[in-house]
């Protein structure tokens, strides 16, 4: 996965001189999570720029550079640290096109690892998908596999609008096939990862892994789950979700983040409003617990959605245990 992200950046930097990477430890250290390996060597310090520890500052520098037509890739060591910079992402990057009546667009990508890591506790372990997906003017992407990571990041870099690209630290080591050569995926399109007729399971990023495992278990219990990877959280591909629910009549949305005002809430509100008559059961969510992330491994596990819970809730909406 980390190589797929690196390759997307490297290929776009070869293709377009206006693309550059900036952030903490991206150059000489080759990325805190080793995502930018080899980039400094190939592109030099003018295009692979180590910044001081100064998130608000360098996020603003990235947005300003985009005002001049450069295509910055701004790496946050993790999205947790981007809280320092959220004003520049929301107030400057997301709103400037609108505030300028369309005169000034901002082709900037903010990227880095998001979501739960491993026992790093509350301040380093949080899912920001819903935070940024709330904001008109941003596009928000959260890939699950290596091919999508490359294809969607390539699309994000070429996109004329600001893109929040949420990687997952616990997926960086995953391996997967990536198409040879140029690979550009379309932003705003969900993907049916596994077709099924009995219940729709929706997730994204690392949540897809739990949902695929749950679908496998459910298949052994004669429940065919359709798995949808949203891939892009804004704009949300409502049509793919609604189309699936029209076939399965049931939906469970699985997210790592907190449920209140979350992505699952948005998905279920959409389904309730636009596919109410198709539903044979109340739409359900499986989410992270509404607590700051605990440190202890067993507590952390309790705070995150797991395969067993997804299986249980999917069986509940199918009324198989009644």
């Amino acid at each position: 996965m980390r190589e797929a992200i690196r390759d997307a950046m490297a290929e776009e930097m070869r293709r377009d001189e206006s693309v550059f990477l900036m952030g903490e430890e991206v150059a000489e250290y080759e990325g805190a999570y080793k995502v930018s390996q080899g980039l400094l060597q190939e592109f030099g310090p003018e295009r692979v720029v180590d910044t001081p520890i100064t998130e608000a500052g360098f996020a603003g520098v990235g947005v300003g550079a985009a005002m001049m037509g450069l295509r910055p890739i701004v790496e946050f060591m993790t999205w947790n640290f981007a809280m320092q910079a959220i004003d520049q992402i929301v107030n400057s990057a997301a709103k400037t096109r609108y505030m300028s009546g369309g005169r000034l667009g901002l082709p900037v990508v903010f990227r880095g690892p998001n979501g739960a890591a491993s026992q790093v506790a509350a301040q380093h372990s949080q899912d920001y998908g819903a935070w940024y997906a709330h904001v008109p003017g941003l596009k928000v992407v959260a890939p699950f596999d290596a091919a999508d990571a490359k294809g969607l990041l390539t699309a994000a870099i070429r996109d004329p609008d600001p893109v929040v690209f949420l990687e997952h630290e616990l997926l960086y080591g995953d391996t997967g096939q990536v198409p040879d050569g140029e690979h550009v995926a379309e932003l705003g399109r969900a993907r049916v990862v596994r077709p099924g007729r009995d219940v729709t399971l929706v997730s994204w990023s690392r949540g897809v892994s739990a949902v695929l495992a749950a679908a496998e278990t459910l298949a052994g219990q004669d429940i065919e789950a359709e798995v949808i990877d949203l891939r892009t959280l804004r704009p949300l591909d409502r049509a793919t979700v609604l189309g699936s629910v029209q076939r399965t009549h049931r939906i469970v949305c699985v997210e790592e983040g907190w449920p209140s005002c979350g992505i699952g809430a948005e998905v279920i509100a959409t389904v309730s409003a636009e596919a109410f008559d198709a539903l044979d059961a109340p739409p359900r969510r499986v989410s992270g617990a509404e607590v700051p992330m605990p440190y202890a491994a067993h507590l952390e596990a309790l705070a995150l959605p797991d395969v067993e819970t997804v299986v249980r809730v999917a069986r509940e909406v199918c009324y198989v245990d009644v």
Partner: protein, 362 residues
């Protein structure tokens, strides 16, 4: 200093400039490390240009204030009245291809860049042909074609943005310089210090201009900043700073030229502190109870940039009082025409509500 001596000699030759230039030279501190100063060889007629430009900003903002009072302009509205010497002096020092960015007190900075006043007024009136199509309002106006990058409503946020513009100028290997304005209130934002650090670290082509109008909203500088000499705020980053009489357009222009030359030559950022004053409240809703009427009147009487230049022009015999009145009438008429043109613009179309959020129209 040889350079400032040249300026004084120049000032003696050009009698209309004598008073201003001599006063500027006396208070002028050369930048440390032997950076070159620029000799401002202003022909007398240039003062007329300065006067005219400042007066346009004054009359425009006065009229905007009236429109606000009449309820034709909504929201927040921050007027530039009193600070005209800064925008005009710096614009004269700046190349037209040098990008400029500022905060929300932005009408004057736009117009001095060459944006038509009716486009600014149209924006304030929420018109379709306003410079942001009625979507930005007083605080959010942009004209990249004239190298004006806003118009930003969050105090201090434009400083990293300007620094990013300068990053792009260097990345592209241009010889352009970004001029980034902010107020005495903004200088205490953490991201301003963050931007200073990066600009100095990477020797970016940027001139930071703090318009010290003495009050961050209602808080006097010495109640907000541990060091009230704001031009020293860049010292720990090695950024040369200079205090400038921001009520003297000639001093502003000269300091701007020197700073721009420094930044353009690849030697990194400069911080100019313009000591200026706003006559009106922070915004239209501010009764300004934190200062006395006498304080405001004293500045108006003794330091008003437009009056100072007008007096020089008259005393030097360049123009007489009647000619200045005629200029004023002409500018007032220009402003009234701009208001009328803006009022005649169609309102922003409701169909435009959901456009310009993303590229491609939607």
């Amino acid at each position: 200093m040889a350079a400032s001596k040249r300026v004084e000699e120049g000032a003696r030759e050009l009698s209309p400039l004598a008073s201003l230039a001599a006063r500027s030279a006396a208070s002028y501190e050369p930048m440390p490390n032997g950076h070159e100063q620029v000799d401002l060889g202003l022909p007398p007629g240039e003062l007329l240009d300065i006067h005219r430009r400042m007066l346009l900003l004054r009359r425009l903002e006065e009229r905007i204030g009236q429109l606000y009072a009449m309820g034709e302009i909504g929201g927040f509205c921050h007027l530039y009245i009193g600070q005209e010497a800064v925008a005009v002096g710096m614009e004269r020092a700046t190349r037209s291809d040098d990008p400029v960015i500022t905060a929300y007190r932005c009408h004057a900075h736009m117009v001095v860049r060459g944006v038509a006043p009716e486009l600014v007024i149209g924006e304030l009136l929420g018109k379709a042909e306003g410079v942001s199509g009625g979507k930005g309002g007083s605080m959010h106006m942009f004209d990249p074609a004239r190298n004006f990058y806003g118009g930003h409503g969050i105090v201090g946020a434009q400083v990293p943005l300007g620094t990013g513009i300068a990053f792009a100028l260097k990345y592209r290997k241009t010889d352009r310089v970004c001029v980034t304005y902010f107020g005495d209130g903004a200088i205490s934002q953490g991201q301003v210090a963050e931007a200073f650090n990066m600009a100095a670290l990477w020797k970016l082509p940027i001139v930071y201009v703090v318009e010290n109008n003495q009050y961050g909203m209602g808080t006097a500088v010495d109640r907000a900043s541990a060091v009230s000499a704001l031009h020293k705020r860049g010292e720990s980053f090695g950024i040369p700073g200079q205090e400038v009489d921001g009520m003297d357009p000639v001093a502003v222009e000269r300091a701007g030229l020197t700073a721009l030359k420094h930044a353009r030559s690849g030697r990194g950022p400069v911080l100019l502190e313009m000591k200026t004053y706003r006559y009106r409240g922070h915004s239209m809703s501010d009764p300004a109870l934190y200062r006395t009427r006498e304080e405001v009147q004293k500045v108006r009487d003794e330091r008003d940039p437009i009056s100072r230049v007008a007096e020089l022009l008259v005393s030097a015999g360049v123009v007489d009082a009647d000619q200045l009145k005629a200029v004023d009438r002409e500018i007032r008429a220009t402003v009234m025409e701009a208001v009328a043109a803006a009022q005649a613009m169609p309102d922003a179309d409701p169909a435009e509500l959901m456009t310009d959020i993303y590229s491609g129209g939607s």
